[in-house]
Each structure stands twice: as structure tokens, then as C-alpha cells.
């Protein structure tokens, strides 16, 4: 074996020992992604259901009872009981006891027999606009169903029916959207933060001096730092994918090899970013907060898995292009959920590869400067 290679392996081994001697950190590194993918895969959902409603029933006739029972029976609503008048509705909203309120007018059943019909009032808590919109939609559908029943089976002429199919995710499972997102988040977190901290730590504890006077070239020192975390990430990618498939029932519809290769590429970007942060900072505290503010939050906010990028104002849309997770998220969603091949994701792959080269070059440059 050529001496430089041997040196490199020695350094990589040293980094390994660092990690292995700290079993608590290792346990966190390996266990955390698993726990996260399970918690978030099962718990995060954008669906709206089990929404509590209160009602003011001025009529108290058979029809109003029937309507309220219909609402209770729907999987979207849960009754929080009757309240008396507008003050009751107000109080329920202020105490967070309901998201929507229904007011049944006096003489409901009688009115429904008349030509101009009976009008129900829905009051939605719009502090969360989407939920409010969705709930009003659902409630109106329940009322419309009942209304059609009351009208009887008389055929309406010229009816356009529409059949709706949910493509890719017929059961509307939250996991289909969140698993790719959590994968991006977890890999970024482990790789960027850990590598960022590892170099700075040597600086802070003073052992960096020793490294710098060694005959190792800076590029090799940096690469040796990254190797153990790369391996830990391989392990994490594998466990995340296994858990997604076997526990969360999220299918891998495309090629597993492609998915894995893309994940490795993304891990590389995250590692190089971590190294860049660590060469540019002097204390663990700063490194950590830069990774927190520079990585974690943009990843949640700007990668498109929580909030639609197309809704953002232009500066943020531009900014989102610089978030690696955004591209990785698109890739995972396409390959894993939609089952498309490399032909649809080559652009995103190219962007990630470009980022990798850019960050690595920059990290090595910065590192050299420190050496002099």
C-alpha cells in the first residue's frame, strides 16, 4: 500500500475510534433517524379529520337532529355538544373546544318544506385558513347530501358526473409526502451537523495543532474526517428505507439502486457543507447555530415538503434553489413514490453534483488558508 493511502486510512481509523469511544453519540446518530422516521411517518398528516364542532339548535325538530347526527357520523367531524347562542360559540372558540360551529334556524323542518328552503349557518375558525376551508367544504357536502335525499329521487336532467381518482396515494396517507421529507432532514442533520462539529471540536480542544503539523495533506485530513460519517449515513439510509417499506407501507416504486445512489450523493453534499461550516467557524457553539439556522430551518421551510414553493414570494423561491434538500426531495418523491427513472431526475441530480463539487472545493480552499 502506498504511504499516503496508509496515512489516510490511519486517520479515518482515528475518526472511527472517536465515534466508537462515544457510544452515546453513536446511539443518537443511529437511533435518532429511526425514531424520527417512525414518529413522523405515522403521525404527520395533512389530512383534516376528527374536527370538533359545536352547534346551536334553535329548531330542535327531527330534521335538525338528523342533520347533527349526520355530521357526527362523518369521519371528519366530532361533536363537542350543543351550546347556547352566539356567546356560547364565542367561548367555545376562545377555549379551543371547536373548529367550526353550526347554527340551525328556528322552524328548520317547516322552512325546508317551503319553496325557498331553509338556510343553515356555518361559522368556521379561520385562524388556520386551510382547515377552515376544508371543513366548510366537508360540512356543505354533508348538508348537500341530506338536501338531495329530501328532494327525492326525481331525475335531474343533463347531469355531468365526475369521477375522481387519487393517483400515487389513493389512501391519502401523510407518510407518502413526509417520508421523503424526513429522509432529507435526517440525512442533512446527521451529516452536516456532525461533521461541522467534529472539525471545530479539534480546534476548540487544541488537537487541531497536532493534525496540522502532521505530514498529512489538508485534503486528506478533511476526507478522513468525512469517511466515518459517510458510513454511518449508509447505515441510516438503509434503515430508513427498510422501515419505510416494511413498517410504514410506503412503497419504493422505482429502482432501489438509483434511490440509494441519489441518497449517497445527497449525503456527500451534506458532508461537504458540514466541512465548509467547520472550516469557517471557530467554536462548536457557532458551528452548531450555523447548522441550525443555515440548514435545519431552511430544510424544513424551503424544501417544498412542508410548504409549497410555488406560493412563496420570488426572493424565497430563488433562495429555495440553494437548499440541497429541495432537489433531493424531488428526486426521492419521483423515484420512490412515482416510480420514475433517471430520465426524470437527471436535472436535479446534476444540481446536487454541482453543489457537492462547489462545497468541497470551497472547504478545501478555506482549510488551506488556515494552514498557512
Amino acid at each position: 500500500m502506498k504511504p499516503p493511502m496508509k496515512q489516510f486510512l490511519q486517520f479515518a481509523k482515528k475518526e472511527f475510534i472517536h465515534i466508537l469511544r462515544d457510544p452515546r453519540t453513536l446511539a443518537i446518530l443511529v437511533g435518532m433517524p429511526m425514531v424520527q422516521i417512525l414518529i413522523f411517518g405515522f403521525a404527520l398528516t395533512n389530512e383534516v379529520k376528527n374536527a370538533r364542532f359545536v352547534y346551536v339548535d334553535h329548531a330542535r325538530d327531527p330534521l335538525s337532529h338528523r342533520l347533527i347526527q349526520r355530521l357526527e357520523a362523518s369521519r371528519y367531524f366530532e361533536s363537542a355538544g350543543p351550546v347556547d347562542g352566539p356567546e356560547g360559540i364565542d367561548r367555545a372558540f376562545r377555549r379551543g373546544q371547536c373548529r367550526i360551529a353550526l347554527v340551525v334556524p328556528p322552524g328548520f323542518e317547516t322552512a325546508s318544506g317551503r319553496a325557498d328552503g331553509a338556510t343553515l349557518q356555518l361559522i368556521a375558525d379561520a385562524s388556520d385558513p386551510n382547515t377552515a376551508n376544508t371543513l366548510v367544504n366537508y360540512a356543505e357536502a354533508v348538508v348537500a347530501d341530506l338536501s338531495r335525499e329530501l328532494a327525492g329521487p326525481a331525475q335531474t336532467p343533463y347531469t355531468i358526473r365526475s369521477e375522481t381518482r387519487m393517483r400515487y396515494n389513493p389512501q391519502l396517507k401523510g407518510a407518502y409526502n413526509f417520508v421523503p421529507g424526513v429522509m432529507a432532514m435526517v440525512l442533512l442533520l446527521v451529516c452536516t451537523m456532525m461533521t461541522a462539529l467534529t472539525v471545530v471540536r479539534e480546534k476548540e480542544t487544541g488537537t487541531m495543532e497536532v493534525m496540522l503539523v502532521s505530514p498529512m495533506r489538508p485534503l486528506r485530513i478533511i476526507l478522513a474526517k468525512a469517511v466515518p460519517y459517510l458510513l454511518v449515513s449508509f447505515f441510516n439510509i438503509a434503515t430508513i428505507l427498510l422501515l419505510s417499506v416494511f413498517v410504514l407501507d410506503v412503497p419504493i416504486r422505482g429502482q432501489v439502486a438509483l434511490l440509494f445512489a441519489e441518497s449517497v450523493l445527497f449525503t456527500g453534499v451534506a458532508l461537504s457543507l458540514g466541512l465548509l461550516i467547520s472550516t469557517a467557524t471557530a467554536s462548536q457553539l457557532t458551528a452548531m447555530f450555523i447548522s441550525l439556522i443555515g440548514m435545519f430551518l431552511p430544510t424544513i421551510m424551503l424544501s417544498g415538503f412542508m410548504f409549497p414553493i410555488e406560493n412563496m414570494p420570488l426572493p424565497l423561491r430563488v433562495l429555495s434553489n440553494f437548499v440541497p434538500a429541495r432537489w433531493y426531495f424531488v428526486i426521492v418523491r419521483s423515484v420512490m413514490i412515482k416510480g420514475t427513472g433517471f430520465a426524470t431526475v437527471w436535472k436535479e441530480t446534476l444540481v446536487l453534483a454541482g453543489m457537492f463539487v462547489f462545497f468541497t472545493t470551497l472547504a478545501v480552499r478555506k482549510f488551506k488558508l488556515r494552514l498557512e
Binding site: D22, R95, A124, P129, T156, Y158
Partner: protein, 371 residues
Amino acid sequence: MRRLLVIIRKEFGQIRRNPAIIRLVVVMPVIQLLVLPNAADYEVKNILVHVTDRDRSTLSRRLVENIRASGYFILSGYGSDRREAVVAMEQDRADIMLDIPRHFEKDLLREGRSTLFVEVNAINGVKAGLGGAYLTSLLRGFNDGIRAEWTGDGDSRAGPLRTTHTFRFNPRMAYSLFMVPGILVLLLTMVGMNLTAINIVREKELGTIEQVNVSPIRKHEFILGKLIPQFIMGFVVMTIGFGIARLVYGIVPLGSYLTIYAFAAVYMLAFLGIGMLVSNFSGTMQQAMLVSFFLMMVFILMSGLYTNIDSMPAWARWVARANPVTWFIEVMRRVVLKGAGMADIAMELAVISAYALLTNALAILTYHKRS
């Protein structure tokens, strides 16, 4: 008491000398409050519709024109081959495919009925649900219009019941009104927990804790001396946050600031306790950071800040209920948007007080002067 003041003064000295912390406490909330609410716009609009029109009749063109004019949809493609639509959806150039079959108009005229096929990209549940619902209601409206026109009957409504609806507390349906109070809680939490968690471990790692341990400083004095400065910083962050909320987003709480600050004080205590616990159980800053990161992630994502708690599975709703962040976000939104008072949040205040007692008791019990 004198000793306590000395420790507090030492802590403030450290904070003052560390520009990174000051930057964090002042700059972070400003940036986050300016950026995040703009990013977190979940309004469903600009839905991309790809129409496969195999009918090419007057009626189908009129339907397409209706979709284009509705304001909710963007006609991202129009063709007569379904495969084009599928490719568009695979490449994220279409959210919804609408398939107008051959003889759509003829069937409707002759047989009185015809069917349209709608296919929604359902990976993102909200967009799929709302987008699909909007399109269905557009189709229903279109149908009503056509029917009224062809039968010459003005009243095309189905059945005797109708509804009106009002949107309370946020009539403009602005997402910032929903997000800003939640993000304020997030900021307070991050400062409270992360800084505290790292603070004590840092002394451990740098070895300065030995000096504190051999000094006559008592355990509770040391802990209080660490906590009080963080407590004050939390309030500074929150006040800056409310300033920005008012200046930039025009958000003024409907309820009183006093209610919010009172709740925040107890909440801060709870989180300082959690931060202390983390630092007690960590040997290095790296560990402390990882653990607090992990906790933050769970706390944030399980708090109802971004996603709806009601729709989670039952066990996850219990996790959310055990999460102190959930309680404060709830309270914050209720006080700011709905004007809730002390009486309305009494239960939440009791829960969070219990939390504060528990975490701080545990933190004090598990802190040992001897290593």
C-alpha cells in the same frame, strides 16, 4: 443572595463578551420572523390542470375556458393524448389531470348524462384534497349553469337546504396571522432550551465547572444563576418578536399582553428545566446539541405548528398533548387571534405549571457537584 448576584453577573459578562450569542438572540428572531411566515403560505392556489380533451366540442371548450377563468387553476397543458398528461404529472408540471371523453357533449344532449374523469396527484394530501374539491365544485357550478340554460329553468339548485358560511378571526384568510404567533413560540423555545442545554455542558467540557464545584457556591444558587439570565433573554427575544409582528405584519394581540407574558414566564421555566436536564445527562457539547436538536424536532413537528393535531392517530395526539410546545402555541393563537383571557386558558396554565415544577425538580435532583 450576594453569591447569586455574582454568578448572574458572571453569566451576563459571558453573554456580553460572546457576540455569537447576542447575534443569535437579536438577529435570529428578526430574520426568522421576516422569512418564515412568508415561506409558510399554505394557501392552495395556482393549481396546475392538464386537460385531455378528446371531445373538442363547443361544450368542452367552454368548460376549459371556465377552468382558465376561475382564478384557482392554471391550464398547464391541453391536448388529446392522455400519455402527455401522465408525463406532465410525473414531472410535476401538472397537479390535476382532467379527462374529457369523446362524445362528452353528445352524450349529455342525447342521454342526459355524461362523465368526466379527474385524477389528482395525491402525494401532498392538502393540495390533493382541496384542489380536487375546488375542481369538483367548479364542475358542479358549470353543470348547474348548463342545465339552467338548456332547460330554461332558472332554479337549478338541488334540494331544499342551503348554507351560508362565515370565517371568523381571520376573514382575509391570511396565513401569516396563523403562523406568526406559532413562530414566536418556536423562537422562545429554541433560546430557552438550546442555550441552557449548551451552557452548562460547555463549562463541563472546558473544565471550568471544576472551579465552580470547589467554590462555596451552593447547588441551587448555581442553577438559579444559570437560569435567570436565560430567562431574561427569552423575554428579550419575545419582545423583539412582538415588535416585528406589529410593525411588519400588523399583528396586535386581541387579548392582553399580560396574559401572554404570564404564560410565557411559566413556559420558559419549563423549558429551562428541560435544557438543564439535557445538559445534566450529556458529557460533551456535541451530545447536548444532538439531543436538544432531536427534542426540538419532535417538539416542533408534533406541536400543531405546521400540521393539524386533530387528524393524527390517537397515540400521536397523546404525544402532542405531552408536548409543552403544543400548549403554548394553542394559547398564543387563542390569545392573539381570538382574544382569549386568563379564564379561557386556566387549564393550559395549570398543565404548563405542572410541567415547570416537574422538569425543574428533576433537573435539580440530577445535578451533582461531584462528577
